[in-house]
């Protein structure tokens, strides 16, 4: 189950990047700049790659996120690990569709049902596209600022206000474009649990709703 939790946390984290909020004033400035940059975007896509210690040993993690914020639509596609590669999750306001490569199946769950379903271990994929509420659950502080004006790199740290985890999430934000460049999850003991780089960050690349929702047509549909 810890594997599920960690993975879903990573997925939720990608959502964290989309609309953050904070406590301190300087943090608030950074976040509102990021927020404004994101809100100005018709679509956003990026790739998260790196490693994460899902159980004990670090594992390669690589997935792509594509989002059309105004539609509340997000698509997550795995490249690694091998066990999850080619699996796709598409979440919008109404439903969450999951494509499973191994069995060539698509599961359909209503977003409402998924949000109620704490049986998933707290997993809530709706947060991928509805992050305002998610971020209100975190205390965020500014750890460091490096680089020259105009190209500064801010390191933010988020700690859940409540809940059973003391793991800290660190997000690096570049002033050039006000976008995230790296995400780390660090345990309270200082051990790195996940370290992911944000690559191929693009805004307004002309993503279409149909393109984001596309899943293999010959897959068996399972409605929950």
């Amino acid at each position: 189950m810890s594997k599920t939790l960690r993975l879903t946390f990573l997925a939720a984290l990608s959502g964290v990047l989309l609309i953050p909020s904070a406590s301190a004033q300087s943090v608030q400035d950074i976040i509102s700049k990021v927020d404004a940059a994101q809100k100005a975007a018709k679509d956003i896509s990026f790739r998260l790659s790196g490693s994460a210690s899902l159980e004990s040993s670090p594992q390669k993690i690589d997935f792509t996120i594509k989002s059309i914020p105004a539609q509340g639509l997000a698509r997550l596609q795995f490249n690694a690990p091998d066990a999850l590669a080619d699996n796709i999750v598409v979440a919008d306001k109404n439903e969450i569709r999951q494509y499973l490569f191994l069995t060539n199946q698509v599961t359909v769950t209503s977003t409402k049902k998924a949000a109620d379903g704490a049986g998933f271990g707290g997993l809530d994929f709706t947060q991928l596209s509805n992050t305002a509420s998610l971020l209100s659950q975190y205390d965020v502080k500014l750890l460091s600022t490096t680089g020259a004006a105009g190209k500064r790199l801010f390191q933010l740290e988020a700690l859940p206000k409540k809940g059973n985890t003391t793991d800290r999430t660190r997000v690096y934000i570049t002033e050039a474009g006000w976008r995230p460049t790296r995400i780390q999850i660090v345990s309270s003991a200082g051990k790195s649990l996940a370290d992911l780089n944000v690559g191929n960050y693009k805004v307004n690349s002309g993503l279409s709703v149909a393109g984001l929702k596309q899943l293999p047509k010959d897959a068996e549909i399972i409605r929950q």
């Binding site: 091998d82 999951q98 191994l102 069995t103 199946q105 998933f120 997993l123 960050y201 399972i222 409605r223």
Partner: protein, 327 residues
Amino acid sequence: MNSRWMALALAGTLTGTAGATTLDFGVSYHGGGQAGNGQSGGWARVGISDFPALGGRFSAGLSTRAAEVGYARSLALPPLGVVTARADVAVAFAGGVRASTRLGGSAGPVALNLGATVFSTSAARVDPLSIWNFNATDSRERGFDADVSARYRVSRNLIAVAGGEFGGQNMGVLGVEGRRELTRALPLDEAAQPGDEPETETIGTLTWRAGVRAGQNILGVTGGVSYAAESGLNLGLDALVGPKAFGITGSVDAGELLGPGSSVQLYAAYEPWRTASTPLRAGIAATRPLGSGEVGLNVSGGRGMDGKTGYGARLTYSLPLGANNQP
């Protein structure tokens, strides 16, 4: 009382909270010596599927030949997998019952599927065209069938498969499946950051299969290849060769040939080694959107173990209920 409950439940569905419940209509005609014990005839059915109740999805149907009811329940665990269970019962008016159950689950690199059917009437007595489906259908009058399959993802592009079929013709299968994605690199975005990897676009996927099949009256090596293009075109060819056995199956999915949302599939199977199913089967199936639903046409036929041939044609219409079904 019963009808009031149905009406209430239906109203709930129609308000759109459930989504994707569909009404299904179908008519068919079959002829030739193989079908319907040598008698040609018609078939008509009305049914409802994916009706949400009791935490799962119900389906029910009433045809000129049988009454059917089914219940399915699933738990999705994005992005890891899903567990599904379903049970179906059909009562044939000519006498006899078919009851089946299926359990499937996948988590990360592992998938398992178990199915069992007990029947005291043939599949053709419930659905006369079923014996010519692409996937072999047990055509016996009564008996028991079970199947099991396991898939394990060895690496991203390699899957090990093991399984068995029991009842009509006991056998086991063991094999591997691999694939190769045919991609082309996309030009780098002008906003690309140093270190960004060039993105690629898949133009098609080549899948291959190799294995062995061994059991009652069957021993052979199997091999197959498929090509799936992004356009929706899907070609597949599989063969079985053994000391005393030979079989070949092929299919073409033409994708959205008849417009957006449509499908066309052509298939043929020649499997003389099968002793409990129709060895020669062929058909064409097409669907396309019509109104707010989908219309389908299916023409199929085959030749049984006794050398008798048969054919059938079916027209179907499925209509999604509720407002929540827009793609």
